[in-house]
């Protein structure tokens, strides 16, 4: 069988074949890269999901907390109800505490207000040794072991000892010493602090804050009205103490 095509036709055909082969190869390369990208992304998605402990089963819940992840100090029937979201590593929370702590404690004692402290932890990234989450866990350990009065004392100490952003805060041994000073039994509280017993619970508390539409600390609500800024919250609180 002889090829009846002219040389020009044959060259054209060769060129066409070449083009088809190149195009096919390109499609294969693109498909392979796309598949790789999809696999990497899906694996990354799964890994991120696994690393996020939020919403997981909580192995330990401290006694004396509210269903909104809060700790209530003061009489239940006090005329004014205050809710405060705080992170022990948050500098403005510290300023807020300095400005209000004494008056708030007096007002609680006098039965004028009740305060629900919702301790959250999202500032480990500015701490060298995860002070935000360790302090929150320790405060709940003190509540569990020694009750609300000890929690209140320890809460004040944790803010007094707040490390500057980017530095390390008190280690667990120091937290245990302070917890004992606040009134907790050393043997009981030490294990809860060292084990990070309430880490899971604190992670869920932090997520609950975000689900309540609260996006920063300190966030203060007085009698159900959430202040728009810490400064506004400070004013609202000072009016009722």
């Amino acid at each position: 069988m002889t090829d009846k095509r002219s040389p020009a036709e044959r060259v054209a055909q060769l060129r066409l074949d070449e083009q088809t082969a190149a195009r096919r190869r390109n499609i294969l390369v693109v498909a392979a890269v796309v598949a790789l990208v999809v696999v990497v992304t899906v694996v990354g998605l799964v890994v991120q999901g696994r690393r996020d402990s939020t919403g997981g089963p909580v192995s330990m819940t401290p006694t004396g907390v509210t269903s909104d992840y809060g700790v209530v100090l003061g009489a239940k029937d006090a005329p004014h109800k205050v809710v405060v979201y705080e992170d022990f590593q948050c500098p403005i929370c510290n300023e807020f505490e300095k400005a209000t702590s004494e008056k708030v404690q007096a007002a609680i004692k006098a039965g004028k207000i009740s305060v629900e402290y919702r301790m959250v932890s999202f500032l480990d990234r500015v701490s060298k040794n995860a002070y935000s989450s360790r302090a929150a866990n320790a405060s709940l350990a003190v509540l569990h072991v020694a009750g609300p009065a000890a929690f209140q004392k320890f809460h004040t100490m944790l803010f007094e000892n707040q490390p500057a952003e980017g530095t390390a805060g008190p280690d667990n041994a120091e937290l245990v010493d302070d917890a004992v000073r606040a009134g907790a039994d050393r043997g009981e509280v030490e294990k809860l602090i060292d084990d990070g017993a309430y880490d899971e619970w604190v992670a869920n508390a932090t997520d609950a804050m975000s689900q309540h539409g609260v996006n920063g600390t300190p966030s203060v609500s007085v009698d159900g009205v959430m202040a728009k800024s810490p400064a506004e919250g400070l004013d609202a609180l000072l009016k009722v103490v």
Binding site: R23, N26, V37, T41, C93, L123, R125, T206, D207, N215
Partner: protein, 162 residues
């Protein structure tokens, strides 16, 4: 000349994505909260988006940096940047006081200054990055790209030689 503008766009946008994604990776819960803070997506998808976002950002950034699937990555980059612009604008319009969370953290932070002051800058930056991405959608061929190594150039129809 336009090829070198394309290269610059690829490297700048790619680097921003890699940095932004990498800073978000260590704290998946924080990204979930940041996504939620915008109050735009239904809660059912918020955790998934929060977990996906940093990974997608890093992957997208790497594709642009090495110049692989440049046009596809540029399309995704443009759309994602515009989505962020919409998100921040919507937060601004509704008076939400949130940190953008653009480079990790976000949603929650010390509320020292008025976080809304950053909105115009965030929007301007994201618009500029969207424009750079759009440039690559139109002109995806750039120097030093893996695309030109892995993909055979299709033989062009012969042009008359001068």
């Amino acid at each position: 000349m336009s090829r070198w503008i394309g290269l610059a766009a690829r490297l700048v946008v790619g680097a921003v994505w890699v940095v932004a994604g990498t800073l978000k990776l260590p704290d998946p819960a924080a990204t979930v909260r940041a996504v939620r803070a915008y109050q735009l997506l239904p809660e059912a998808v918020v955790p998934t988006i929060g977990h996906l976002l940093p990974v997608a950002e890093v992957v997208l950034g790497l594709l642009l940096l090495v110049g692989l699937l440049t046009r596809g990555a540029a399309v995704a980059s443009t759309l994602l940047m515009l989505a962020f612009v919409i998100g921040i604008s919507a937060a601004w319009a509704r008076g939400l006081q949130i940190e953008c969370g653009c480079f990790g953290g976000g949603g929650a932070a010390g509320l020292d200054a008025d976080p809304t002051a950053a909105y115009p800058w965030d929007i301007a930056r994201d618009l500029a990055l969207a424009a750079a991405s759009a440039w690559l959608v139109v002109r995806p061929r750039t120097p030093l790209a893996l695309d030109s190594v892995l993909l055979a150039p299709l033989p062009q129809p012969e042009r008359p030689t001068r």
